[in-house]
């Protein structure tokens, strides 16, 4: 009974539909970027802590549920305009995949690193979203646009962060996705193909988000661009992510 309760709670923290709605509801209620960042960072780690208490293997059908949940949120992310909601949906979609390495018996510490690989760029996006709200009153695509011209340094960081979220090489998420597909292939090739399709949906959602913010003609307002300290901070984390990705590539091979 306790085991089933743990599995149920893990389904809440490594979001599986419909439990995933809880996380997205909670994230939507958080106004402070620090709180949002903490939630994005710690939510899956709590799930992994619970999983480490489990004494039986995760059933096969959990993988199908994980794929369905991930695909559902990735697909719905295509129609989102709010940056906060977008990061919540992408978080749900990517964390659901953590069930695959768990099912394959990957050491829990490695899965925790995978969760970090997914979460850290989302944390950066939470802060960037707060930056957009400060400058324009809302972090929403299609409202203002033209950020590439009006705040070029901000948009460069935004582009890189979104690329990291949608698992572009050489960011860690790219290699995590490769590991996930490899592990899924040994269980059921159809799941591996499904993961590849979800990955494609992420790229689509990422492109729509960027095009709604970065491109277009800027309006007359003159928002302040990122200051040097902030750029260095973001750049440092992005470089660390790249280094982690390259190191991950080494581990993978």
């Amino acid at each position: 009974m306790t085991e089933i309760l743990i599995l149920f709670l893990a389904g809440l923290f490594l979001p599986l539909f419909p439990l995933s709605m809880g996380f997205n509801w909670l994230l939507g209620r958080m106004q402070s970027p620090v709180l949002r960042a903490l939630a994005l960072l710690l939510w899956p780690q709590a799930g992994l802590l619970l999983i480490s208490q489990l004494e039986f293997a995760v059933p096969d059908w959990f993988l199908l549920l994980a794929l369905a949940s991930s695909g559902f949120y990735a697909f719905r992310a295509l129609a989102l305009r709010d940056v906060g909601e977008w990061s919540g949906f992408l978080a749900t979609s990517s964390w659901a995949f953590l069930w695959i390495p768990i099912h394959a018996g990957t050491a829990i510490m490695n899965v925790q690193l995978y969760a970090l690989g997914f979460s850290v760029p989302l944390v950066l996006l939470a802060f960037l979203g707060a930056g957009l709200e400060r400058r324009f009153g809302a972090a929403c695509t299609g409202l203002y646009g033209g950020l590439a011209e009006s705040i070029p340094r901000f948009s460069t960081i935004l582009v890189l962060v979104v690329l990291a979220i949608i698992a572009t090489p050489l960011f860690p998420a790219f290699f995590i996705m490769l590991v996930t597909i490899t592990q899924a292939m040994s269980v059921m090739p159809a799941i591996a193909a499904g993961i590849a399709v979800v990955w494609l949906l992420w790229s689509w959602a990422g492109a729509l988000l960027l095009q709604g913010l970065v491109t277009g003609t800027p309006d007359d307002s003159r928002p302040a661009d990122l200051h040097t300290g902030a750029i260095l901070g973001y750049a440092l984390i992005l470089v660390l992510l790249l280094v982690a990705g390259i190191a991950g590539m080494g581990v993978l091979s």
């Binding site: 559902f72 033209g146 090489p169 490899t182 090739p189 494609l200 790229s203 491109t215 590539m249 091979s253």
Partner: protein, 559 residues
């Protein structure tokens, strides 16, 4: 010495970093760093080619003691030289062409990163490195095409490119994972060695592994090389800067032909995949050329011309002529790159004269020129059909006597014959007073092209695939049953001759058609000029999907 292959992609990467770092101090002069980097890259790429020519073989070099492997072999050195050369020209051209544009430094940085990715892709010796480079090319192309951030339409079509490339990435990822699971390594040389030793050793869902992997790689190649159904991105990406179009048509879209060559041992061990590759390539070549002729937008027309050429390149792979596909992609890359970079001059000169040929009646009455000579049609028909056959057969016989034993050779000769006949036929249509001179010139130029093409493709065959047994097996993998083959050749010949006969009749009747034929022709023209409504269909599907996603979000209260 083989470590020189590491420098080739590393130099543009360093140049991108330097351009980024020095731009605030040097301003637009920082772009010259990028050009110098390109020049050095080209020189080192030439050095790798020279090295492989001097000491033939394949060498693997690990990237900074990591597991990433770069190969120095004939294919990588040749492709690296071509890519570095085209990149250098594009860099030099862009110095002034992009001078008035915003994002000048960003453009050169992206160009350098694209060059790095392309060079890593052609030299990748393991599946991980190949996947990384393959994926990055799509991402970088997206940003290069969207260089003008104000241009919504450029971004829209850049997105089409990106999503098609991502669709093409998926099968390559699955193929890589399948190979890794079967052979427990990402290294391409080891995988190929084990695959050649025991091709039947592994199965996927009851199917032979080489068949599944070859099919997946072929699909990836189709998406990257704009084959029919995944081609719509190519003609619409002209909103990007001209140098990017040149680089894309000359160096990026060819990746399909390259990847099929890289996985040649897999295709060699597959059973029917090459036949499907041939059919897709042939269909794309025909449809691409047809769409090219019906477009009234010159840029779209150029895009469809590339699509047709890519179809031809893929078709060459489908008949086992892998090295010929590489020669084709290089030749096409150079001429298409020249066309794009020379587009500005053509537009300038077109402002002075439209070069539209005048009607015969006009030149005869107004300009008082003598009427065009007419030659006996029977003589000209014989010349049209026989001369190309004679040139093609004698040229190939000079190079290799056993050439005609291969089915692929017969297919290529067949295409050569059609092309030659079409060329001579077209020369009669040209408004010249000395038709004999024109025909002789057409025949001589055809002979020179065929001789050059045959000699160079033979040299490419020996250089890229030096092992004669491997070469033979590659051609044999594409062979089909001889009765079917002969029947197909006869059928296609009859179709072509029928087409020429129809053209002759139409020409004789001065373009007049019967009512039903005219209506049918109009319908067909409307369909082709609207690109078979495929872009509309894809747009409609995209909108529907977005609508469904939106509806779902409303139902689920956005959580």
């Amino acid at each position: 010495m083989e470590k020189i292959i590491l420098l080739v992609p590393l130099i543009p990467l360093l140049s991108a970093l330097l351009t980024q770092l020095l731009f605030p101090r040097m301003g637009r002069q920082a772009a010259r760093i990028s050009v110098i980097g390109s020049l050095l890259t080209f020189l080192f790429a030439v050095a790798t080619l020279w090295l492989v020519l001097a000491v033939p073989g394949s060498y693997g070099v690990h990237l900074f003691d990591t597991s990433a492997l770069l190969l120095l072999d004939p294919l990588s050195s040749l492709m690296a030289t071509v890519i570095a050369g085209i990149s250098l020209i594009v860099h030099i051209y862009s110095l002034r062409y992009m001078a008035e544009e915003t994002g000048y430094a960003r453009f050169f940085i992206l160009l350098d990163l694209m060059t790095t990715s392309l060079l890593v892709m052609v030299a990748a010796g393991d599946l991980l490195t190949l996947l990384v480079a393959w994926h990055l090319i799509g991402v970088l192309l997206y940003f290069l095409l969207g260089q003008n951030t104000r241009d919504k339409s450029a971004w829209r079509y850049a997105f089409w490119t990106k999503i098609t490339y991502r669709i093409g990435d998926m099968p390559l990822v699955i193929a890589a994972v399948l190979l890794y699971q079967a052979y427990d390594t990402w290294s391409l040389p080891i995988i190929f060695e084990q695959l050649m030793a025991a091709p039947e050793a592994h199965k996927v869902l009851g199917l032979r592994l080489p068949d599944v992997v070859a099919a997946l790689i072929a699909f990836s190649a189709f998406a990257r090389s704009a084959q029919f159904f995944v081609h719509t991105w190519l003609p619409y990406t002209m909103s990007g800067p001209t140098p990017v179009s040149a680089l894309m048509h000359a160096g990026i879209v060819n990746a399909g032909g390259f990847v099929i060559n890289r996985f040649a041992p897999v295709f060699m061990q597959s059973s029917d995949v090459l036949h499907w590759v041939f059919i897709v390539g042939l269909f794309t070549a025909v449809v691409g050329s047809m769409l090219m002729l019906t477009q009234n937008d010159i840029k779209k027309s150029l895009g469809y011309s590339t699509m047709g050429q890519m179809g031809f390149m893929i078709m060459e792979c489908g008949i086992g002529a892998f090295s010929l596909a590489i020669y084709h992609l290089i030749a096409h890359g150079l001429f298409k790159g020249t066309m794009f970079l020379g587009a500005g001059s053509v537009i300038n000169s077109a402002r002075k004269s439209d070069y539209v040929p005048k009607e015969d009646l006009y030149t005869f009455i107004v300009e008082r020129r003598p009427a065009r000579q007419r030659l006996p049609w029977l003589t000209m028909a014989a010349v049209t059909l026989a001369v190309p056959v004679f040139i093609l057969v004698s040229t190939h016989w000079l190079i290799s006597q056993d050439y005609f034993q291969k089915q692929s050779a017969v297919v290529l000769l067949f295409f050569g014959w059609i092309t030659g006949a079409q060329l001579i036929f077209s020369s009669y249509q040209m408004g010249t007073r000395n038709i004999r001179r024109m025909v002789i010139l057409a025949i001589v130029s055809f002979a020179v092209v065929v001789l050059g093409y045959t000699l160079i493709s033979h040299a490419f065959d020996l250089f890229l695939y030096p092992d004669p047994v491997f070469r033979e097996q590659l051609y044999a993998a594409a062979d089909i049953d001889i009765i079917w083959f002969d029947a197909l050749i006869v059928l296609v010949t009859l179709i072509i001759i029928f087409g020429w006969f129809i053209t002759f009749l139409a020409d004789r009747d001065g373009g007049r058609k019967k009512r039903y034929a005219s209506n049918l022709w109009l319908m067909f023209y409307a369909l082709t000029s609207r690109e078979f409504y495929l872009p509309h269909l894809y747009t409609l599907m995209t909108r529907r999907l977005l609508k469904i996603a939106e509806r779902l979000n409303v139902w689920m209260r956005w959580i």
